[in-house]
Symmetry: C4
Subunit: 273 residues, 4 copies
């Protein structure tokens, strides 16, 4: 961070994970509704996907931490130098990455060792988001108004996402909650890119005026539009996954069972009303 690339990297990570998590939630929900657990729902495969997710999270966290420490004049693991703290901003970022890495570790451990409680990753996820909120809140002492504002928005959505994950911890398998959380993760990802464009405009364009109230007014609605964009991405994703499951898997499953289940499903959705 402290540069365009430093904001684009976590933004991309969060965006990718947001898309993946929303896909996973929709896939689970649609499969469950169609009762076609024959292919995707097998427990062993599901477990491997979770472990893979954990490994990817750990790799992302490591990439972020190493990038912050060693690229373009980082602190090189030195915390205190010549009587003063050494590049604390980058240490802040490292700490955030570290807690997301812990989430990956929890994911791996939880699906490897069967005696651990299954909701552990949820808790670590919510903790990672709350730690991010906490650090962003204490991140911008003595910086410009607009700079503070865009970081406070990051803190706000990571707090809300953390709260949602904490609620998920209690009420499992609520697809709308999971999608809401994914939309906030997507929003955070695209907002990191926006912050990069605002604070460190690439390709040499002039920087924004950080003390202009109108810029804050614009970024307020820009934030809402990013959110609407996250909705649209999830909507398209939902339509695509539903279509994919219905059309492709129909051929694979035996068609008689499919028709049978179809009737059941319609009955069920009536009841749910």
């Amino acid at each position: 961070m402290g540069s365009f690339k430093g904001h684009a990297l976590p933004g991309s990570f969060l965006f990718i994970m947001g898309v993946w998590w929303s896909t996973k939630s929709i896939l689970k929900y649609v499969c469950k509704k169609q009762k076609r657990t024959c292919y995707l729902g097998s427990k062993a495969l599901f477990r491997w996907i979770e472990i893979l997710e954990g490994i990817i999270l750990v790799l992302m966290a490591l990439t972020g931490m190493l990038g912050e420490q060693f690229i373009s004049g980082g602190p090189y693991l030195i915390l205190y130098k010549e009587g003063q703290w050494n590049q604390l901003i980058r240490w802040h970022h490292c700490t955030m990455y570290f807690f997301f890495g812990l989430l990956g570790v929890a994911n791996i451990l939880c699906f490897t060792i069967s005696s651990l409680p299954v909701s552990l990753p949820k808790l670590m996820f919510s903790n990672a988001l709350f730690v991010e909120t906490f650090i962003f809140q204490n991140h911008t002492h003595g910086r410009e108004m607009l700079d503070v504002f865009v970081h406070q928005l990051l803190a706000l959505i990571s707090f809300l996402a953390g709260l949602l994950v904490f609620i998920e911890f209690f009420t499992r398998n609520n697809v709308l909650l999971e999608l809401l959380r994914s939309s906030l993760i997507l929003l955070q990802g695209s907002w990191f890119w926006q912050v990069g464009f605002v604070l460190y405009p690439p390709s040499g364009s002039p920087a924004w005026d950080l003390t202009d109230h109108d810029n804050i007014m614009f970024l307020t609605i820009c934030f809402c539009w990013h959110y609407a964009l996250a909705y649209i991405i999830i909507g398209v994703n939902y339509a695509f996954v539903t279509w994919f499951v219905k059309s492709r898997l129909r051929r694979l499953c035996s068609s008689e069972i499919g028709l049978l289940k179809n009737a059941e499903r319609e009955h069920e959705s009536e009841e749910e009303m």
Copy 2:
């Protein structure tokens, strides 16, 4: 907005929807208590009402957005003009209308496509209210004290209403929660009118002193009286709907069944204690 009419329009929209939602909640509750689902409770009719509600919401949102953009010197869809942002206040209002429009779209989709989760509109409703809160919070940079205060009250009630809808998302069919939420929507509607009268007094009367503490003190209790008014409207509505269902529908349903059900109902209400 930015004028008396601009406040009266969303105020009227919210007030109408508040009255309608409270009527719907009471109707459902009273019918369920009387177990007279013969006429009103038929699922096809109920579905059409929901779709109609969605269409009306979309139309309201479109009216609001078009009014903000094209009436009396609006931005005409131009966001950035001559090196500065173009009428951001009106873009703010458009964004709020847009998210209420999304609620309408969600209502229509959810009751048309049966594979969507049934609580989706609740979630979009709560989101629309939270987005409204967020925008109102960042709406009044550099404006007068009283102006800020009345808008913060709008933010407060839209936040509370959003919170209530989010709770409804978890505990469905709690009539009191739904009425509480409707009362907050009614309050918001009548408060929009009040804000219009305070900031842009119609018929040429002199404006209020926006820096007087006494005016804030008065608007504080005025707000509570508006809330008491919302109570009274809902109370009268409740009495009227109950009387209507009892007296009118009694004739339509076969009277023997009516008496039977009546006995059951009394038994039930005893148990509930």
Copy 3:
């Protein structure tokens, strides 16, 4: 208010209601545990007690409102006089009393008309407390530091009490929640007295220095001691009611049944662990 008596009156009202509500909760809990519903638990009696409670609440609210309006130079129902608002502080107090009066009305209606939802009084109670919080928050514009502080504490406890009643609305018959709420009502009652002593010392003693930080520090712990006092009152009340139910009612109920129930109760309390 605005005088010692004006603080002592609501303080006494709240204290009396706090003692009564805690007694009612304990009585219900102990009777239920002892399964001795023969005398106290009869539904008709219980209903009369609730209606009586409602009437008393309405009378208290009327006393308060009339006192604020007509005693020692009140506004005499005139809101706007000679180009400015007339004694808004007293109108604030009236509005608070009014919403507590509404709680009484809800209590009466709910236990008279059987078609109303049973949790309505809970909701009105929580609303009355939130309205109180809202008014206290906007009550002290431009007043001294210590004055603001003691009123903010009132707002804090009425908010917490409102929150607890709102939780009770969802999880009925949890004796500890009800006692916690009663303890906050008791605390509010005794704190009103404390505020009266601090701001309007009776018997001519000199007023407190309203700008001294040390006074805030002291009132912080004083507030905690008041809370500890509320605990003690509820503890003594609990011990007394338990002893009363056990010793007195034992004689009235047939003693054989008593022994039988006693054995059952012990068995039950084992299970609950």
Copy 4:
């Protein structure tokens, strides 16, 4: 407090209790999962442990209160002296200790007298933490920025811990919630030590600059590292207790039953997925 020792004492108390509470939670969870309640789960033993815990809490609170009152120039129970308040800071600390003492008393009473509700200690625990939050929030009027910051962090975690205990009050026997709460207690314990080192550096090293923004930035991440440390302690504790229960108790229980239960357990953990 007001000295290094004054911070080290409550820090050690909290740390010890944090380790003990996490051990108790893990032990209960592992034993339940293994259905080996033969030795540890006996109700009489469990009750004695709880009473012992209560006695230790009371002793800790007494130690703290006596230390604050009588050691190195304390107030010696005098609250008001020579026209001004006497060492209110120390009275603040006493009040905090007192409410933790009440938790101990509640623990003893609740497991001695069987007619008391079982969740009473949870409620008193949450109250003790909220009272601590309240006092810390009003503790640092007119002190230096860094001093205020580290105390606000204490207030933050005691608030979060209080909230978690309040949630536990509703959803009993959720091991992850209990461990999360224990981790916050551990964090609070180690943070007290950190505060001692920052504000009153022992062994004569120079004090920290209390007005330096960089120090706040560092303490922000330092706080997160303390939290990561609390995770590690609980993780190691979990591994150790699981290993201990599995390896040691296996010998004591009859091995046939053990094998039987083992098969059941694996079946169960599959289901839980």
